[in-house]
């Protein structure tokens, strides 16, 4: 039988990375995800790896870039303002096709945020890719078990397509405790990393050159053509979503992360009251499951987007639905208290569903 343990979301990020073979982790601590660094600092030396705490997020991401060039599985993790500081090295990594995993635990608000409180105010920030016109995949778990699976899947996708891959969580998911099944995953075969810089001193070592690391992009149109083809392959093969009780639903809730977890409870209570509600949950936020969502939305005829923000996911939902069914929105104003520690709770979601019927 698979072992089950109680684990927090943040500890699970670290545990999953180690399970995926990540031995090197570069980061600067930031609430609400510093527990990832605590775990790595404790566990990585035991397996011959290291946690290197940098002087700031910018340096951590450049360390990530350098280490990733060796072909090893490497990771960083941060929260909203920290991710903002990492943009230059991350853009270079996507440009130069250097694979690594970034875990972003959203904290509420712009600027330096609320000091680490829950919120889902980075959806637009992470799904529009890096500056320079390039996308990267973003996976959005909604439970501790999914964090364990998706961090490992992120390493696989990163290696498969040679692309930076993100796992997006939030304060609630990072800090909550629930059961984790320590399953092992087989995501399939991976290409050899013949691009990696192993060093010439290495047995069989040879010179290698990753042209875009230098920023010298001479063949601009050829470069973007290659990137567009890669994006298309990722869209075609990696777009993921989950539906819950949508088979006969005439009311569709669309949500991700912690608010999807709250929406699931609302769906079950609605069902108990005779309301045929269902939940559509994008798992990859990029690539966004547009076609699948459109089909479900047309079938249900009515859509409510639930996210703890002023309205970001709702834009992708509107794009997917293309005005063919009404799209309603329940956002940060629906928190049970109008403060940083407020949450969008299932009862409030159900109330909105009832009002929109």
């Amino acid at each position: 039988m698979t072992e089950r343990i109680l684990h927090t979301g943040n500890d699970t990020v670290a545990r999953a990375a180690i399970s995926a073979g990540c031995k090197h982790y570069f980061a600067y601590p930031i609430t609400p995800q510093s527990e990832i660094a605590h775990y790595m600092a404790r566990e990585l030396p035991k397996i011959g790896g290291c946690f290197l705490q940098s002087e700031g997020e910018y340096a951590a991401a450049y360390m990530l870039l350098g280490a990733a060039l060796s072909g090893e599985r490497v990771m960083t993790s941060t929260s909203s303002p920290g991710l903002a500081l990492m943009q230059e090295p991350l853009s270079m990594m996507v440009t130069a096709e250097i694979p690594a995993v970034v875990v972003e635990t959203q904290r509420l608000g712009p600027g330096t945020g609320t000091g680490g409180q829950q919120g889902q105010t980075d959806y637009r920030f992470v799904t529009r890719g890096v500056y320079g016109g390039l996308h990267y995949p973003v996976l959005a778990p909604y439970s501790v078990s999914e964090i364990f699976e998706f961090v490992q899947l992120a390493f696989h996708i990163a290696d498969k397509y040679r692309i930076l891959t993100m796992v997006l969580t939030d304060f609630v998911l990072g800090r909550m405790t629930e059961y984790l099944e320590l399953k092992t995953f087989d995501f399939g075969p991976l290409p050899e990393k013949d691009w990696a810089l192993k060093g010439k001193a290495h047995k069989g070592g040879r010179s290698n050159f990753l042209f875009t690391v230098t920023g010298m992009m001479l063949d601009i149109t050829g470069f973007f053509q290659g990137q567009q083809e890669k994006s298309k392959r990722i869209i075609d093969s990696e777009t993921r979503w989950e539906t819950y009780k949508t088979e006969d639903a005439d009311f569709l809730i669309v949500s991700y992360g912690y608010s999807a977890r709250m929406s699931k409870g609302a769906v079950n209570t609605a069902r108990a009251q005779g309301i045929k509600a269902g939940l559509f949950r994008p798992i990859t936020l990029w690539p966004f499951p547009r076609e699948a969502l459109q089909q479900e939305a047309l079938k249900a005829g009515k859509v409510l987007v639930v996210e703890d923000s002023p309205g970001e996911l709702v834009e992708d939902v509107e794009l997917a639905v293309q005005g063919r069914v009404p799209v309603h929105f329940l956002g940060i104003q629906a928190r049970h208290i109008a403060r940083a520690e407020g949450l969008i709770l299932p009862e409030r979601i159900l109330q909105e569903v009832r009002e929109l019927l």
Binding site: G115, E178, Y179, R261, E341, P346, E347
Partner: protein, 191 residues
């Protein structure tokens, strides 16, 4: 005595320092010994001491859809500022436990059972206000019969071992039983 059924939900709504998080962590570990699923969502005000601090624990034999909710069958309240909200969060027929050495207000609802326990005052008299959350835990267990105290004691022993909490083990256990005693005697008093 105890219920092995669909499970239960409990909210501890206090201020930073009242022990909401320890209450939640310990109860979740104890729940995990009895139920197929357990979840714990901590929630507290950022970057400050003494801000609102809340724990929501869910016990279930089926997969937990939402690990947090507005309502719960039992609410333990130690925050004066969040008291009116805490009272609203008890589901009809549920239980509200109030530390009335911190909260002066009285509950207005008639459809719930309310217990006033001066946990903080008793804990201070015992010499350690930090154990007040264990008095409330004992009161909660006795008032709701959701878990037998032995399971919580076992959990407390195993999770305290080798930590800074170990030296408080006997005080914490005494506090648990004090909470149980307060509720057991409470029912004989007029509400």
């Amino acid at each position: 005595m105890e219920k092995i059924d669909k499970g239960f939900r409990v909210i501890f709504a206090g201020l930073g320092g009242h022990g909401a998080l320890v209450f939640g962590e310990l109860l979740t570990e104890a729940v995990a010994r009895r139920y197929n699923y357990a979840s714990f969502v901590p929630n507290y005000a950022p970057s400050m001491r003494g801000g609102e601090s809340e724990s929501i624990v869910v016990a279930s034999n089926e997969e937990i859809d939402s690990p947090a909710s507005f309502e719960a069958e039992a609410v333990v309240a130690t925050s004066p500022s969040a008291f009116r909200l805490a009272e609203k969060r008890v589901s009809p027929g549920g239980i509200l436990i109030v530390d009335d050495s911190i909260i002066c207000e009285k509950a207005e609802r008639k459809d719930i059972k309310v217990f006033y326990i001066p946990a903080r005052k008793i804990a201070s008299e015992e010499g350690n206000p930090l154990i007040s959350n264990f008095i409330l835990m004992g009161a909660y267990l006795e008032a709701t019969k959701t878990l037998p105290v032995e399971i919580v004691e076992e959990t407390l022993e195993s999770t305290s071992k080798g930590t800074s909490r170990e030296r408080l083990l006997s005080a914490n256990k005494r506090a648990l039983h004090e909470g149980i005693r307060l509720i057991a005697n409470y029912s004989q008093q007029p509400l």
